[in-house]
């Protein structure tokens, strides 16, 4: 009797084990296939930067670089064709300034909304949410005219200032700061702290996590931006690196190895930043959107 019962269940277990194995194989095959689709273009960018043009455009396609040459990097970094290192430096200056300004404005307005009751708060919140839906393309032409009038054409300020007020950042910081306990602020007030002191000594330190995520997101957007710098910047010495790469692409379409080299060294830093902070960033990508 016991035997009769246990046998089919054993078989069922064996079968489910088998099914599981097949399932796992399919799952990892899919994941691996997509990993290849994502990874191979990156690999090809990297190895291509060590190839001559002849090696890049030849059969059969080789994903590796069997005879690597540093010639592309030497030419790119020598600055003879374009001042690429300077352009990457420009990108750093612009992205860092833009991140700092955005973080300052966003954390202040976020703090104001999170920790105070004031006249017009609801109206301003609704107003911000409503205007949030207006796409930035609408503003491009008047912004350009404003930049020209202010004499900021072809200047870093012209790139940085209009991008430093982020409604997304404001909401993001408000969400992060709203959970800071009121008792901490009351205690601080009893100890004689000023309102600015509360923000600076309690608000900022306690929302470090959110600030670092916002910082990475803003930095990344600024680092990768093409359209607005393309509109504002005019001389190669002022260009950011995407404009430099686009120039190379336009002028030396045949020198693809050099272009790939430039693309690679501009992508490496942001990938490293993300490798360092990947879990915190990936886990919090949807904070602004989903938890609102």
């Amino acid at each position: 009797m016991r035997l009769a019962i246990s046998r089919p269940s054993d078989a069922a277990e064996r079968k489910s084990h088998y099914v599981k194995l097949v399932e796992a194989t399919i799952v990892y095959a899919i994941l691996f296939f997509f990993a290849l689709l994502v990874g191979i273009p990156f690999l090809y960018m990297f190895t291509g930067s060590f190839k001559t043009n002849g090696q890049l455009f030849s059969w059969p396609v080789n994903l590796l670089a069997p005879e690597p040459t540093l010639n592309n990097y030497e030419r790119l970094l020598s600055g003879d064709e374009i001042p690429y290192l300077q352009q990457m430096g420009n990108s750093v200056i612009i992205a860092v300034s833009q991140s700092a300004l955005t973080l300052l404005f966003a954390s202040m307005v976020g703090w104001g909304f999170a920790k105070y009751e004031f006249r017009g708060k609801t109206f301003l919140t609704m107003f911000l949410l409503f205007t949030f839906a207006i796409p930035f393309q609408v503003t491009l032409v008047p912004l350009f005219q404003m930049i020209v009038r202010l004499g900021l054409l072809d200047s870093f300020m012209g790139v940085i200032l209009p991008s430093s007020v982020s409604a997304f950042g404001a909401f993001f910081m408000r969400q992060a700061m709203v959970s800071i306990p009121q008792e901490l602020l009351d205690a601080g007030r009893i100890d004689g702290a000023s309102e600015w002191g509360l923000f600076w000594r309690i608000g900022i330190p306690l929302s470090r996590g959110a600030l670092s995520i916002l910082c990475v997101l803003v930095f990344l957007t600024a680092w990768n931006d093409y359209l607005w710098p393309l509109i504002v910047l005019r001389t190669p010495e002022k260009f950011t690196y995407p404009l430099g790469l686009a120039t190379l692409d336009g002028l030396y379409k045949v020198e693809y190895g050099m272009i790939l080299g430039g693309a690679f060294i501009a992508t490496l830093p942001i990938v490293l930043i993300f490798v360092a902070g990947r879990n915190q960033i990936l886990d919090n990508l949807t904070i602004g959107a989903v938890k609102q």
Partner: protein, 295 residues
Amino acid sequence: MFGRGRKIAPYLFISPFFIGYTIFFLYPVIQSLQLSLYRQVGLTNPPRFIGFDNYVRLVTKDALFIKALTNTTYYALGSILIIVPLALLLALILHSPKLRFREFFRFLYFTPNITAGVVVGIIFGLVFEEQYGLVNNLLLAPLGIDNVRWLREARWVMPAIILLGVWKWTGINAIYFMVGLQNIPPELKEAARVDGATRPQVFWHVTLPLLRPILAFVLTIAIIGSYNLFAEPAILVGLEGGPNNAGMTMTMYLYTRGFRELKMGYASAIGYSLAVIILVLSVIQLFLIRAFRED
């Protein structure tokens, strides 16, 4: 700096942002609406009021505008139809318990999204190269398919850009869906299984309906992203959109009219048309998602 004035403190905290927001966003938004009713070419020429002529011309006489609109819509539909199911599949797989290397895959799939549009455009120039490109040689040749003239033949340009979009955006959408899956209480699925539902049934009747908020979010982002598309096609096929302008998107069209030809009034009208289209699509999309909830 702020003293003890709890009454004025909040206004001091919010004013730097709102001053900047007014100067660099609200004012241009209003200015643009006004400008769209004027004819202004160049920066110094005096603007001339022409009413709704810019809009009328866009819709009735400007074949390139209609082309850019069609292209962008083609991209939006094509990429959404591929990305959403694919991202959902990857999210379901990545969400499954006891998966190994989860963090590795999640990070790898995400990396195209943090890569600059210009860089992606440059890489995909090689991916879609006709004779020596990766797609033709590594994916299609083994299947016995002849070289596709991706970037040189008008009808293949948009499919190439859509595939680029799929490469760039599927990973991050998978991460959005993963967040949605994590927010579904496991008891709900277990209860359904206890009641005798099969796994596909659980997926269709429990998981998918509960993912609706994330789906709305993903679709909204995708619609906005489609109409923002600029750097990738500009690098891949040039600012004119390649053969027969097949890769010309709305934002590229706005750029060429506004900043190459300095047609300020006309470009403003393009900007506002874009805003209206995005608004209408987002509303339609939200209503569709609501409608699904009803049945």
